[in-house]
């Protein structure tokens, strides 16, 4: 029986608590009276995932069984979430592979010849052949790569089609192959409440023309939070676009949800509550911490990125996207939601080594901002964990380090744009068009493994709601010059950070630490 999440109040019995800090972690003693939001314990995974997948395909929600939708001579497009989900990557076989293999078995039995597989990577970098193979499995890769298994190209004008407009005038433009298929089968992994559902096709296969309607400062500032779809302007836009898509293409959605088994057994202490650490856990902590600190930076990064999560699959649901997503969301919230009584003056987050955009890559300062002020700050329902004008304290080294292949436009954004302003509205007005249409960035996006030129700006917008809401952002252990460039303050220790925060929140602030990963979403009442 998995225990629900809860809010700990730090007392004199509370041992030092674990904080993620980039490609490392540390123990930190929090001030007495601080609150710590713990996620629910990991739910048991499905015992027989393959059987559950088959059952879902044969008994879908709001749709005919998949075999009834397949017939010879049809155009079938299977789209799957790219490597930005889940985080960390799951152990192989990836659940997407398991699902795609069963879908293909059924397609083969029905005599479907025209099958294409597309990674729904939107403006993300292309997945490498090795990454594609890891996601879909050797058998699928061998049968379809490179001609019928590929990445979506949001800049291939010849292979994009404008499906229509929403009543708000939003352009719905997606991958032509998918839009002209008789059936799209979307294979999803819903890691947070933000993912999946109407977002899958309308975002994963979209172009910049379409994405800019919801990936903008105004929409993101009115998405409170990203993980609470009913209160997210971004999701309202997704829904409108999904409505347009529904009129033109048939989508059979297969969604999965995961439990909180984020770290493998040898790092089991990262999944446990600190006062329950056994001697073995403590020895493992010391050994791993010491080894991690002593390992050269490059090898350390490789080790972290090679560490796959032993996730259990908590649900597999198939059928109509709307009906399916409702069920999936329930499973996600059951695993991640913890009720919190009101916001506090200061919020603390330990930022780990990975975010959706640095898988097998470097977490650059912009991505740190997007993870901290975008993803983690938005892990709430109701109201933010920090009161308006409060202070967010993050743990991260914020090194001035970029992956030149994956994040070329990020480098220019950091060096040129942030040197001038950190205001998301000003950035959007002055620079978005330039970055989005820069032919060199577009070339790198299409032919190399670079994120789209506009992506760093989107990452900055991602934190726009937090930047507007917070009075100050302090990064413990952060590089001073990098933090200064981004408008944050760097502190050496937590005590220093709390001292700095006094200017904004007074001498006796209330403090809440959101203990994640594993992911926890605060239901702030």
């Amino acid at each position: 029986m998995s225990r629900p999440g809860f809010v700990l109040e730090v007392d004199e019995r509370t041992p030092a608590l674990l904080m993620h800090q980039g490609e490392g972690f540390r123990l930190e003693k929090l001030p007495l009276g601080s609150r710590v939001v713990y996620p629910p314990e990991s739910l048991p995974g499905l015992r027989d995932v393959d059987a559950r997948i088959r059952e879902a395909l044969l008994n879908p929600l709001g749709s005919e069984p998949l075999p009834d939708l397949l017939h010879a001579g049809m155009r079938l497009t299977i789209v799957f979430d790219d490597l930005s989900i889940p985080l960390p990557q799951m152990r192989t076989p990836d659940v997407r592979q398991r699902i795609i293999e069963q879908v293909l078995e059924m397609a083969a039995a029905a005599g479907v010849d025209d099958v294409e597989l597309i990674a729904g990577n939107a403006l993300h970098r292309r997945m490498t052949p090795a990454e594609l193979k890891r996601t879909v499995g050797e058998r699928v890769f061998r049968s379809f790569f490179p001609h019928h298994l590929r990445n979506h190209d949001a800049e291939d004008r010849a292979n994009l089609v404008e499906v229509g407009h929403t009543k708000h005038g939003e352009v719905v433009e997606i991958n032509k192959r998918a839009a002209t298929s008789d059936l799209i089968v979307y294979v999803n992994v819903t890691l947070t409440a933000m993912s999946g559902g109407p977002k899958s096709v309308s975002v994963g296969l979209a172009s910049y023309r379409s994405l800019k309607h919801h990936h903008n400062v105004h929409t993101l500032r009115h998405s409170r939070s990203f993980n609470d779809p009913p209160n997210s302007a971004m999701h309202h836009s997704y829904h409108r676009m999904a409505g347009v898509l529904d009129e033109h293409v048939k989508i059979f959605q297969i969604e999965t949800s995961l439990n909180n088994d984020t770290f493998p057994t040898q790092l089991g202490f990262l999944n446990k509550r600190e006062w329950e650490w056994t001697l073995k856990d403590q020895a493992a902590y010391l050994a791993v911490k010491r080894a991690n600190d002593l390992t050269p930076a490059k090898q350390r990064r490789q080790i972290w990125h090679r560490t796959a999560a032993p996730y259990g699959i908590t649900s597999v649901t198939a059928g109509d996207p709307g009906a399916v997503h409702e069920v999936t969301l329930q499973h996600v919230l059951r695993q991640q939601l913890t009720e919190v009584n009101g916001p506090s003056d200061i919020g603390i987050w330990g930022l780990p080594y990975i975010c959706p955009y640095n898988v097998n890559s470097i977490m650059n300062p912009i991505l740190m901002m997007s993870l901290g002020l975008g993803y983690f700050f938005n892990l709430y329902r109701g109201q933010p964990l920090v009161r308006p004008g409060g202070v967010a304290i993050y743990y991260h080294p914020v090194s001035n380090e970029f992956h030149p292949v994956h994040h070329p436009s990020y480098i220019d954004f950091y060096e040129e744009v942030l040197a001038e302003t950190t205001d998301p509205v000003a950035i959007e007005a002055k620079y978005e068009e330039q970055f989005a249409t820069d032919p060199w960035y577009t070339h790198l996006y299409r032919n190399s493994y670079a994120y789209h030129g506009v992506h760093p700006l989107y990452m900055w917008y991602w934190g726009a709601h937090a930047l507007e809401h917070l009075g100050q952002v302090i990064v413990v252990g952060g590089d001073r010059r990098t933090c200064e460039r981004m408008g944050f303050r760097a502190a050496t220790t937590l005590n220093d950070a709390l001292e700095m925060a006094r200017e904004k929140v007074g001498g006796s602030p209330t403090i809440t630490y959101q203990h994640t990963p594993p992911l926890v979403m605060a239901d702030v009442r």
Binding site: R3, R13, R273, E274, W275, W277, Q282, D293
Partner: protein, 304 residues
């Protein structure tokens, strides 16, 4: 941060076993204790048996007899007993087990296992190991909270006699509590005889809260009844009632003497010695009254 400093932060607030106290606000979120059965099979190996008899005969029994003045009656009724029996005793003190083990005939004592509260004697491994070695104890679940599988039927099947305290716990005030059904049920289902044992004076000698007998070698009485066999078709409830009557008579024997107690039982005048329905202090007052020997001293003693 160096390893030393890291270790210091890690171990701050933890005890020498690395255990942290549970923060108060986390107390309601602790996982339920996993039922862990302490293995006691090793305590019945030949080597452990030799060690136990050495400890019992060389240390435990002489020590008990040096600190108290035990009087043992009815033991001769067990001399002819063959095969396993279930010894059913009232329980008021930690003296009870050493007194019974020290006064049992040798052929039964060396093949007797003692049922001990799993939640009390088997909660820490060192205590569990010591209890299992010295008393040949096996865990008995008192409150059915951990769903342990009882070892008792297996032990009987292997020829071990059992010493059980069917009240479930030591008396709070020296008087007896009703006998729980477990022991009677065991006798009925396994078809073994029960031997009622009544201890008097142990509460006065070493009640709850004391870990050593009162000074002055207080007198204690260990009274064995004749083995009681469940009859064909007898229910556990009826058998338990019969055991209760025998225990009541043995208890009353202290004040009435053997024959009078028999007559009182026949007349239906005896009931379970649950004490007067009075204020707590009066119940305790009565139960701690020193056990004095009625009448003149016997011509010969039935000592250990």
């Amino acid at each position: 941060m160096g390893l030393f400093r890291e270790a210091r932060v890690l171990t701050a607030g933890r005890d020498w076993r690395g255990r942290s106290r549970t923060p108060r606000s986390a107390a309601d979120h602790q996982p339920p204790d996993e039922p862990r059965e302490f293995p006691t099979g090793w305590a019945r190996t030949p080597a452990a048996r030799v060690a136990r008899r050495g400890l019992q005969r060389g240390v435990l029994t002489p020590l008990t007899w040096s600190q108290t003045r035990p009087e043992v009656t009815g033991r001769e009724g067990l001399d002819a007993t063959k095969g396993p029996v279930v010894l059913i005793a009232n329980h008021a003190s930690h003296l009870d087990t050493p007194l019974i083990l020290g006064s049992l005939p040798e052929h039964i004592a060396k093949r007797t296992a003692v049922g001990a509260a799993a939640d009390y004697f088997f909660d820490a491994r060192w205590r569990a190991a010591a209890t299992a070695l010295v008393f040949n104890a096996f865990p008995v679940e008192r409150y059915r909270s951990r769903r342990l599988r009882s070892l008792a039927p297996q032990l009987l099947a292997r020829g071990w006699s059992l010493l059980l305290f069917p009240e479930g716990t030591r008396s709070e005030d020296g008087w007896m509590a009703p006998l729980r059904m477990g022991a009677a049920q065991l006798c009925v289902t396994q078809g073994v005889a029960a031997v009622p044992v009544v201890l008097r004076g142990t509460y006065a000698a070493m009640p709850r809260g004391r870990n050593w007998p009162l000074p002055g070698r207080p007198r204690v009485v260990v009274r064995y009844g004749a083995p009681v066999k469940p009859e064909q078709g007898e229910s556990a409830r009826l058998f338990n009632q019969r055991l209760g009557q025998t225990v009541s008579r043995l208890w009353a024997e202290e004040e009435m003497g053997w024959y009078q107690s028999l007559r009182a039982q026949a007349a239906g005048e005896l009931s379970m010695p649950t004490g007067p329905q009075a204020a707590e202090w009066r119940r305790m007052w009565e139960s701690t009254r020193p056990v004095t020997r009625p009448g003149p001293p016997p011509a010969w003693r039935d000592g250990a």
